[in-house]
Point group: C2
């Protein structure tokens, strides 16, 4: 509709928005919405974890390991109980699971690090030896995935993200012809930031991809597999078995985390991969650490108990954050609906809403919001190298603020979107 405004109407819009934004600025809001952080109420849900391991606890696991001491070599892969729990969560058999520390990002980084120093099992060609390596980066995507890829000097190729996963026509075409492409980043459930869930068809096409490089890997980040907003339990096909159907069982490397189940930055994480990939990863892991924190694993096992209980907990998380998601969507609908200057996703899980504003205005919207005290994730950061070709995507993280702050912040955001769009449209007239 905005596009059909005449110059006068646009000018009116600009001056009315400007006035409102000036007023917002005076109210001195300070709100950081840049990261997908749980709010205090969510953190309070898990403080019971500090009661399950006490001074007079039994510190022995089911196999007789004292979790307070160095691990025995056989349990270097993590406590049996913890591996069982993750096995239920990600539907991968327990023996293919390695328990890490508090950061799944760290496991991803370590996997790349191992690839660059030692290469893939059997081949043993360090990726450092290759002149060029490329990775497919469905975008918008997760900025911290892209930071890792960039750190290792990997060339990132953005691929459009659709509502059922990456554009597989493009992916298939690219990997068929370019042997430098050695992998793809995927967040198959409630993707960051669009919240989409990969369809079974997309997963099948990823598993059966015909790649010029025989070293192609799928980095499969199941960060949000438990994080539904509406009580739906998402079961996607197990990517290892799916790949194995096509003889590609060494293709996927799976990651998952408890960071937003219990405490952000003090959870437990896992990596899962084929027998061969896991064995090869373990060779490096055994040199690189004395072992991961088993006390934290025991705390998680005792507190979370089993998948049913975890889903109950996730329901309580959802009860806290669902109204926040809905508030954002409601304000977007009220303020931006039908204007033809913005589109957004309505995710059923995860931690983000993806907002596409009028092309070439995302940076401007970000900066206006910042001036009014609302810090959003930097525009562009959902694309490789921080470069959104259309400068239109913004990642909205509704979980951390309380609902009144969020309401206020979204009104600021919508006004900024309108102001920037009108300004952009008028400058092109």
């Amino acid at each position: 509709m905005f596009q059909r405004f005449n110059e006068e109407e646009l000018k009116n819009q600009i001056s009315s928005s400007k006035e409102k934004l000036e007023q917002y600025k005076l109210q001195g809001l300070k709100l950081d919405m840049s990261r997908g952080k749980p709010c205090s109420n969510q953190l309070d849900l898990s403080v019971g974890i500090f009661d399950v391991v006490k001074p007079d606890s039994c510190f022995l696991t089911s196999t007789g390991t004292d979790v307070r001491n160095y691990s025995v070599p056989a349990e270097f892969t993590g406590l049996s109980e913890m591996r069982e729990m993750f096995s239920e969560i990600i539907s991968v058999e327990k023996d293919l699971i390695f328990i890490g520390g508090n950061s799944s990002l760290n496991l991803m980084f370590n996997y790349f690090s191992k690839l660059f120093m030692k290469g893939l099992p059997d081949r043993n060609i360090p990726w450092n030896n290759y002149e060029k390596i490329k990775f497919l980066c469905p975008s918008p995507g997760y900025d911290r995935h892209f930071s890792i890829t960039e750190y290792f000097g990997i060339e990132m190729i953005p691929v459009e993200m659709n509502s059922d996963g990456p554009d597989m026509n493009v992916v298939e075409e690219l990997v068929k012809n370019d042997g430098d492409i050695k992998g793809i980043w995927c967040t198959p459930v409630y993707s960051n930031p669009t919240g989409c869930v990969y369809s079974d068809e997309t997963i099948k096409r990823l598993a059966s991809l015909k790649c010029k490089s025989d070293e192609f890997l799928i980095f499969w980040d199941m960060a949000y597999v438990l994080h539904n907003l509406y009580g739906e339990i998402i079961k996607i096909p197990d990517i290892i078995s799916e790949c194995a159907n096509y003889g590609n069982e060494n293709r996927p490397i799976i990651f998952a985390s408890m960071s937003k189940v219990t405490f952000a930055g003090s959870g437990v994480t896992c990596l899962a991969a084929s027998k061969k990939n896991l064995a090869s990863f373990l060779e490096t892991a055994r040199v690189s650490t004395i072992g991961y924190d088993k006390i934290n694993q025991m705390k998680h096992v005792k507190y979370l108990k089993d998948l049913d209980n975890i889903n109950l907990l996730m329901g309580k998380h959802a009860d806290i954050i669902r109204p926040k998601f809905e508030k954002v969507l409601q304000i977007f609908e009220e303020k931006l609906g039908g204007l033809g200057i913005a589109e957004w996703t309505s995710p059923r899980g995860g931690y983000f809403i993806s907002l596409d504003v009028y092309p070439h205005t995302a940076k401007k919207v970000h900066s206006i919001c910042r001036d009014c005290g609302v810090v959003l994730t930097p525009a562009g950061s959902t694309f490789p190298y921080g470069k959104d070709p259309d400068d239109k995507n913004l990642r909205i993280a509704p979980t951390y603020p309380d609902i009144e702050e969020l309401d206020f912040a979204c009104n600021i955001l919508c006004e900024a979107v309108k102001y920037a769009a009108a300004t952009e449209i008028i400058s092109n007239k």
Copy 2:
């Protein structure tokens, strides 16, 4: 004395030792003395840590950070309180300290990983680009240091370890002439396994080393700085300041750990380095992890309180393990003293006793002990590539077994030492 035995006397020794060892074997002992692990009584000293952070605790740090949530960028280097505590422990200013996870070995590995991918600050030449890199490895030394160096394809040069640190005449000569030598491993306080403490003179010579390579680093592992057996508080010169005196402040990278203060594998660790080195390390660290576990940091800060209190705790550790060290030394003295077939260290701290048996018999002693149910650290593992040129060094880890087991195990060990020495001597007659 053994060397002066005639053939008959040696044969008698062999048959008497053999008989005793056969009897030991029948008793079915199963004892793993291969690692420097605390015993359960030591672990019990710190279970109070599970009481200091409770469901109704305040989770805010002095700067207002909720430790249950992701860290704010300013606190990525660790909780201020935790950095202060390590600053006291290692006598390095707080701003040069980075708090890691549960494994200092992991920080060492990560530092190498960063060097190989990105190189040193200013230079920015990834060590991967060099055809050859060498490291000096004072030996006997810590096998897991050597594993890291080997992983990265670094050539390890053993340097003899004296009672006041590495043989500095050799070190000085080597680094002056060979530009491929880019570093040295040091455990300056209660070195693993000899237990020696570097003298001020050694430290000064390390700090002032004239190296052909201008990338020379000192990996300074302060693993045992708190671990005295006799209440002595060891204060060695601060290596960063010492190096700075000679314009070499970017030379040392310091590591320390709480693993054997509270719980093995669930402690808190730190890395300290010059401002420039730290900033460069942080660039990698920020990409490689979402941050380290702040709840565990808070637990440690609240439970350990300050250095005086830590030293009280370490005194309790010492009370438990000192008798074990003394029992080993007493049996060595009784059974091996004056025989001219073995030498050992009498450390005043740390986790090990270094035992040199008769040359070319350490492997044999290890295997005899294993057959009698006593698993020692593999012979050779205190040397680079697991190759002890004289096959004489064994690392004794007295802390884990109870004192009766230890007594029994040491009698077996001494008998094995005598048997192997007599057999070796007679074969050379």
